[in-house]
């Protein structure tokens, strides 16, 4: 099920997360791309998945038995691109074209453009349905892979999310895992005020999911939890990952202006200093 049987060094992964954050901030500056806050909130989740849990072959990205990953919160594409580069799917330099004219590295990811992107996303509320279809396909054909879907909390405003939330348990999709990057913000305000999201874990529980809460910045705890999901389970798994928008940089943390703001050269330098990557 998973080919990295040894639990990786958590300190090394924490350091990698800091480096990835530094690179994301620099790319955001160079490419004038927004959505920095939501990228930084999910870096640790992505690192835990790709370095501590998911079974993938970067040199053979389309390997049919690979674990699937759908970035349903497609606006965090830059975070995913950077993590995939570090995981060996392609050289880090390729991300230099991010958001540039005719680049394959679009601000929301496009299926088949880049190795490792399992679905097109950007419009919210699609990933859980597509992931349910992939999980269903694995069940019909007896394949061992798991499907992971990463959603944002604001994304849970979409009605289609709850259609999928009703569908997956009805079809016993125990090979499906949704992780919610619960950073408590969406574009224009607090996610718990704009819509009545809270209590999110209980909502998924009530819908028939095995639901957990976890610190979305504790890579070790997330690796342990993600690894505990076996495709033979009956119930799909929902993991509410509590995170901070803009995590890792003091002047970005929990400041929703960084949903749209693009850092200045000075801010990039300050952020890099804080992260230890001058």
């Amino acid at each position: 099920m998973t080919d990295n049987t040894n639990i990786p060094d958590q300190l090394a992964l924490a350091l990698l997360s800091r480096q990835i954050r530094a690179e994301i901030i620099e790319t955001s500056y160079k490419s004038e791309a927004m959505h920095l806050g939501g990228c930084l909130s999910c870096v640790d989740i992505l690192v835990a998945l790709y370095f501590g849990c998911m079974s993938v072959h970067p040199e053979d990205a389309g390997w049919p038995d690979r674990d699937r990953f759908i970035l349903s919160k497609g606006h965090a594409a830059l975070a995913l691109y950077t993590v995939l580069a570090h995981r060996g799917f392609y050289p880090c330099e390729q991300i230099d074209t991010f958001n540039k004219d005719r680049s394959q590295y679009t601000e929301h990811p496009v299926w088949k453009n880049i190795p490792g992107i399992d679905a097109t996303s950007g419009s919210l509320g699609h990933g859980l349905g597509i992931g349910s279809g992939m999980a269903l396909a694995a069940k019909i054909s007896g394949k061992p892979y798991r499907t992971f879907v990463l959603m944002s909390d604001g994304e849970c405003d979409e009605g289609s999310v709850w259609e999928s939330a009703l569908f997956a348990p009805a079809h016993n999709l125990g090979n499906l895992v949704v992780i919610i990057d619960y950073n408590k913000w969406q574009a224009c305000g607090r996610s718990n005020e704009i819509m009545n999201l809270s209590p999110l874990m209980q909502k998924f529980s009530a819908f028939g999911w095995t639901a957990y809460e976890v610190d979305g910045h504790n890579i070790g705890a997330m690796m342990t939890l993600f690894r505990s999901v076996l495709p033979s389970q009956e119930r799909p798994v929902a993991i509410i990952a509590h995170t901070l928008k803009g995590r890792g940089v003091s002047f970005m943390e929990d400041d929703n202006n960084w949903h749209y703001r693009i850092p200045t050269a000075d801010e990039v330098q300050k952020a890099h200093q804080e992260l230890g990557f001058p």
């Binding site: 299926w111 399992d118 679905a119 097109t120 950007g122 419009s123 509320g125 699609h126 859980l128 349905g129 597509i130 992931g131 349910s132 279809g133 992939m134 999980a135 269903l136 396909a137 694995a138 069940k139 019909i140 054909s141 009605g159 289609s160 259609e163 999928s164 009703l166 569908f167 009805a170 079809h171």
Partner: protein, 314 residues
Amino acid sequence: MRDTFSSELTNLAGSDPRIVLLMADIGNHMFDRFKELYPTRFFNCGIAESNMISVAAGLAMSGFRPFVYTFSAFDVGRPFEQIRVDLAFQNLPVVIIGLGGGLTYSPLGPTHYICEDLAITRALPNMTVICPADAVETRAAIKAALQKEGPVYIRIGKKNEPVIHQQLPDFVIGKGITIEEGTDICILGTGTIMPNVIAAAHLLREYGLKIRVVSYHTVKPLDTELLEAAFSDYLLVVTVEEHSLIGGLGSAVAEWISDQPLPQKGHLLRIGIPDEFLHYAINQKNAREAYALSPEKLAETIHKQYQKVHQYLH
């Protein structure tokens, strides 16, 4: 047509293990045979069409060939954006079966009938749009759609539609089927209105007119070869559809004409549904009558236009 869809898909599923059937909780017992034979490949997705389209996308991305089934008003009207992004943009081989496109469900009120489905689907890149005329064409269209590598929308009627083909015609996506030959007027009909079109052509014979009748089942891609011949061979070419005059077959043909480098000899008459909703209960036959789609009204409209064109030119 719906029973034909069910029986044909059940047949095909026997030899093609990639076929899966998703429906949104309509047609109780309609798929019993499919369920009995292939229980792991049948899914009632509930009254949740948006999720159904995304699930179909996920299955197609994993090598399956999903067919999704519900009312046209709900599987095109409701989850448009899922169709656009998940199916059309990703160019996935998913077949959307739209039950009762057009006025079929006009008795159920404005929520259940749809005359905009061809316009909606036709505008999407990668999408193929087919309106079979009868059960025979439905059977052929399903087989042909299975060979496509991208998304296909097939608009069908309901049940007991008159059959216009005695045997399975040579059905090719994007190629109209000539039902009757004639030299004065060419009528291109699409979908379940075809029996009325054929009846209208027979009425027009009483005026001494010879009518070519084509089942123009594929609205996208257009059979441009047929259009080129029709507009050079006939003074009048008529499109007939149970669809809004905005965006359907008539619009597609009008677009084609305006894209031609030189004026066409033939004039185009578009017959379809005006830009309005029905606000009262009315059955399909009477709704067709009200919109001048009955054989008599079709013949009258076409004859009048033919006379005008003829007078203008002579």
